[in-house]
């Protein structure tokens, strides 16, 4: 493992000259040091970076388009951590320039990406990775403000300075969950779960999902996720356990909510940090996050609510797989 300390810095910039003045030295230093250098940016930034770095240096850098890389908060965090950890690199440090894609994100997604920025500070400890996140000052003020709370250091005029606004990652994450969840819509379908056999629960969920355009693969993921949450509630929670399902047109997702009367203990694992690979460790809630588009958890005196969200295909894409062509394997 690299002896270099893990760093996670924010690069706020005004215009592309400012951007290049911060990003180019960061990447060049990585190439010179023999790091594994990765630049995850939109296409326009990549072109500018290549020009500024020169062909030889740019050839040493792995360029990736941010739209695909920043596909899913938990998956991206998990993959990137695995990349930083990968033993195949013989201790070569991962150096990552990240320019997250904030445009066209729904509010819930923005919240989760901001949470990931905070959790990076915990998850990457000990990896020696160097991560520089570029934030244009033209981004929405809320996004800029959050970036100041999730990065321990800030790059200004080519120097890294301690960031006085940096917030403890767990405290930040808790704040992400502080707003109460809006009530399910009036048309939501509710099923009290008093059957110990989850087979029938899955039949119910599948029946509901088939009335939506949810693709078959996503239905399978939802069934695994909801089984895990209800199993947890049955084992550790308190009755009544109630399943509620609805389609959320605003978030364009299918929502599957499991509520029970129990309260999770303080500091309970919310599955936010990927377990280290290599051992058959716990991967319950963390895997649930990987399987769903989004997971919201609220626990308190009035019980615990877990909402699983699965993105429904965008009708504008015109390529929504037909839900009728799917079957649940019960044979």
């Amino acid at each position: 493992m690299s002896s270099a300390p893990f760093t996670h810095r924010v690069l706020p910039y005004d215009g592309m000259d400012d951007y290049l003045a911060g990003a180019v030295p960061f990447l060049r230093a990585g190439v010179e040091a023999g790091d594994r250098v990765l630049a995850v940016t939109p296409l326009a930034s990549r072109m500018l970076l290549r020009d500024a770095l020169g062909t030889d240096t740019a050839a040493e850098i792995g360029f990736t388009d941010s739209a695909g890389w920043f596909a899913h908060p938990s998956r991206t965090l998990s993959d990137c951590l695995c990349e930083a950890d990968a033993p195949a690199w013989n201790g070569r440090r991962l150096r990552l320039l990240a320019e997250p894609a904030w445009a066209a994100r729904r509010p819930l997604e923005v919240l989760e990406w901001q949470r990931v920025e905070a959790l990076v500070n915990i998850a990457f400890t000990g990896t020696g990775a160097a991560i520089l996140c570029a934030y244009a000052r033209t981004l929405p003020p809320g996004v800029i403000a959050a970036s100041r709370r999730t990065h321990p250091e800030i790059v200004k005029g080519g120097a890294a300075l301690a960031n006085p606004l940096y917030t403890d990652p767990w405290a930040y994450s808790t704040q992400c969950d502080s707003a109460p969840l809006p009530a399910p819509p009036p048309g939501a379908e509710t099923l009290p779960l008093d059957l110990p056999d989850l087979y029938w629960l899955r039949q119910y969920v599948a029946d509901f999902a088939r009335r939506t355009p949810l693709p078959h693969d996503d239905l399978q993921r939802l069934l695994v996720a909801v089984t895990e949450i209800v199993t947890n509630a049955t084992r550790h929670g308190r009755p009544p356990i109630v399943l509620t399902m609805w389609a959320d047109p605003e978030d364009r997702s299918l929502v599957c909510q499991v509520a029970d009367g129990g309260r999770w203990p303080p500091g309970a694992d919310l599955g936010l940090i990927p377990p280290r690979p290599g051992g058959p460790g716990r991967f319950g809630l963390w895997a649930v996050r990987l399987l769903c588009s989004g997971v919201q958890i609220r626990t308190g005196d009035r019980g615990t609510t877990v909402r699983l969200r699965l993105r429904l295909p965008d009708p504008a894409d015109g390529a929504a797989p037909a839900a009728t062509a799917t079957t649940v394997n019960t044979a």
Binding site: R221, P280, G284, A331
Partner: protein, 339 residues
């Protein structure tokens, strides 16, 4: 022949395109039944991989017949106490059954050989018809017929395959419409070439297999012998983890690989994956748990979690394709990779 018969009814059938009993090039339709579900009219086929599999299938076939006042006819040179699955201490008192003629163990010479020791299909068919014809008169409610063809296929003056196939077809034509006769034709899988095995198998409508270790209508677990492991069908979740863990734990651990045929597993929960991972870790070393024929729905879940988080577990044979070299996928799906 003069056997009681029934109207022909369509059997519950299933496609079995890649059955290891033979490499059928096209989809053939068989009913596949556990031995306890074999019923009158079944002309069933068992290509066994070894003594354990044969003992457990044929032993159950014999025992259930004897327990249910059914006649059991076995053409073999092995004495009654040496029949498959009859060596256990729990075996019934065979002498009494032989005495009452409920158990008929007929030596080959008497059943189907000519004076020169050559296999004569007509004689075999006559012997079986004769024994079956006496069933009701002897006070039994049905008759179970079985013999092992391995010797016929292996003997120095071995039977011509075409002759065997003709014999099987005629035998099948007799058994299938019967309301009181059921038969299992056995052969050691390794005794025949694959094409012979497939041709013989195709003269049967029913493939018989071992009784499931577990079956609650939602999850079914069946031992497999070649390869060594389990076939897991249906849905595996928390309610059924203990049953699955028991069966998995009971497998002989010394085998280098344990294969799980998951072609009919439609659902596995995260606890099920953790269970597999724990089991693989407990096996230790380079002994692996091979997941064969993963259904896309289950593979999708494992890939979401990541193969690299399930050390000791590797994808194996894929539907319709041979096993990966070394039973392990390379490239993006191998161990130690992030995705």
């Amino acid at each position: 022949m003069r056997w009681a018969s029934k109207p022909v009814e369509p059997a519950y059938a299933e496609p079995d395109p890649a059955d290891p009993d033979g490499q059928a090039m096209e989809t053939t339709w068989f009913a596949k039944r556990p031995v306890s579900d074999v019923r009158p009219g079944d002309h069933a086929w068992l290509a066994y991989s070894g003594a354990e599999e044969r003992d457990r299938v044929i032993g159950a076939f014999i025992r259930e017949g004897l327990d249910n006042n059914e006649k059991v006819v076995y053409v073999t040179d092995t004495p009654a106490e040496g029949l498959p699955g009859m060596r256990a201490r729990t075996s019934p008192d065979l002498d009494a059954f032989v005495e009452s003629r409920q158990l008929r163990v007929i030596p080959r010479e008497q059943a189907c050989l000519d004076a020169g020791g050559r296999f004569v299909p007509e004689k075999m068919l006559e012997t079986l018809a004769h024994e079956a014809g006496q069933t009701f008169g002897q006070g039994f409610r049905a008759v179970r017929l079985t013999t092992d063809h391995t010797w016929v296929m292996n003997a120095p003056g071995r039977a011509d395959l075409a002759e065997m196939l003709g014999c099987e077809h005629r035998f099948g034509d007799t058994v299938s419409p019967s309301t009181m006769a059921m038969a299992i034709c056995q052969v050691a899988r390794r005794a025949c070439r694959d094409d012979e095995l497939a041709a013989l198998r195709d003269t049967h409508e029913v493939l018989v297999e071992i009784n499931p270790e577990y079956d609650d209508g939602i999850l079914k677990i069946v031992r497999t012998f070649d390869p060594h492991g389990l076939r897991v069908e249906g849905e595996l979740d928390d309610v059924r983890h203990a049953a699955f863990a028991d069966r998995l734990g009971a497998l002989v651990r010394s085998h280098h690989r344990i294969h799980l045929d998951l072609s009919r597993l439609g659902f596995i929960d995260l606890g099920g994956l953790r269970l597999l991972a724990r089991h693989a870790a407990a096996r230790g070393g380079d002994r692996t748990l091979v997941l064969d024929d993963l259904a896309p729905a289950v593979e999708n879940i494992i890939e979401a979690v990541g193969w690299h988080r399930l050390p000791g577990i590797v994808p194996g044979r894929r539907r319709g394709r041979p096993e990966h070299a070394g039973g392990r996928a390379r490239g993006t799906r191998g161990e130690g990779r992030c995705r």
